[in-house]
Symmetry: C2
Subunit: 186 residues, 2 copies
DNA sequence: ATATACTCTTAACGAACGTTAGATATGGGG
DNA sequence: CCCCATATCTAACGTTCGTTAAGAGTATAT
């Protein structure tokens, strides 16, 4: 047993490498080098390269999404979404990279078809979920769904800015943009 | 000389492969196989793999962006942006793949640092350009820049939906979302 | 007809890859 | 003290990769 659980160390380093170089650009040798262990050590904990990648997406990424979705609601809907996005700024580097990797698979820039299908299933839940959250604040006009869709689209770009492009988004900017879309609500 | 300019055929097939498998997942051998030519043929027209990738991004992708930016303006600003996005639905498959590949590099999911820098330069021009376009329609309130930023963010997601996720976005949906952000303008 | 320039091929190079076989170290239970 | 399971290593396997050397086929110009 090394200083830290080696299995976890491997996963952490793997996230880094998959993130920077993609699935095919990442080599088991380089991961081993950064973990400071021998090459077959990785095969001791993971059956193969794909299994390592899969665990990151299926466990780490989706755990992160669920943790995020369980955020408590504040009394203002605009504040809620602002906080939702703003807090992403303060994810750990590891979490940000897992998130980034997930988005990469979500956009089918990496991973395989099996992972893509899992992502598609998740995507279908997004709109209804936010519709439920926003429902009490909507004014029952005929473009309610349009507002939800627009907000979700905006959120997607904001998340990408923070997580994928690694920018820091100030709270006021986030609030301003969300307010523009939700203008009239609440 | 083959049926078509072989150099162009190679580029077309390369776009396909880089798109599906990323830079590292793409092999010169597989490109050659799909082009129906021998492997060194590719080295006859391109010095190496990276040069082939670079030409696609530096020439094809940016040519596409410039062609797109040169769109004529209609009299309504909402119609202008709606058309801007809606027309993406009808890009050729080749153009869509080039676009997708460009976005992949833009999000630094592929490519190298040199290409990333070129992208960063381009990105800096985006906000000012749209501010110029929107200027006559803005009401000189203190969140003018916020509206421009929100619109650009929304456009980004819409473009991604069509080009990256390969969805078809109906004109009404696009118009609805843009209207929500530009609500009050014009 | 012969030389020259362009187009394209077969065959191979060395390097790097994912993966595995087999041995060694380590540490607790009988 | 020895046994056995777990943890880790060195060394190698076969495959595939990017790239190139060397030359064959073909058309044009002299």
């Amino acid at each position: 047993m090394a200083e830290k659980n080696i299995r976890e160390r491997i996963k952490e380093v793997a996230v880094e490498h998959f993130n920077s170089n993609g699935y095919h650009g990442t080599t088991i040798r380089n991961i081993a080098k950064d973990v400071n262990c021998s090459l077959p050590m990785i095969y001791y904990y993971y059956n193969n390269k794909k299994e390592l990648f899969d665990e990151i997406i299926k466990k780490e990424y989706f755990d992160l999404l669920k943790r995020q979705a369980a955020l408590l609601r504040t009394n203002s809907i605009i504040d809620f979404y602002t906080k939702f996005v703003y807090d992403l700024n303060f994810l750990s580097n590891y979490e940000k990279k897992v998130y980034r990797l997930g988005i990469k698979v979500y956009l089918s820039f990496d991973g395989d078809e099996e992972l893509m299908e899992i992502m598609d299933e998740w995507e279908k839940t997004i709109l209804p979920r936010h519709y439920q959250i926003l429902k009490p604040y909507l004014k029952n006009t005929d473009n309610d769904i349009g507002i939800v869709r627009t907000l979700v689209h905006l959120l997607e770009t904001l998340i990408e800015s923070i997580v994928v492009k690694n920018r820091f988004l100030p709270e006021e900017e986030i609030q301003e943009e969300i307010s523009i879309v939700l203008r009239g609500c609440e």
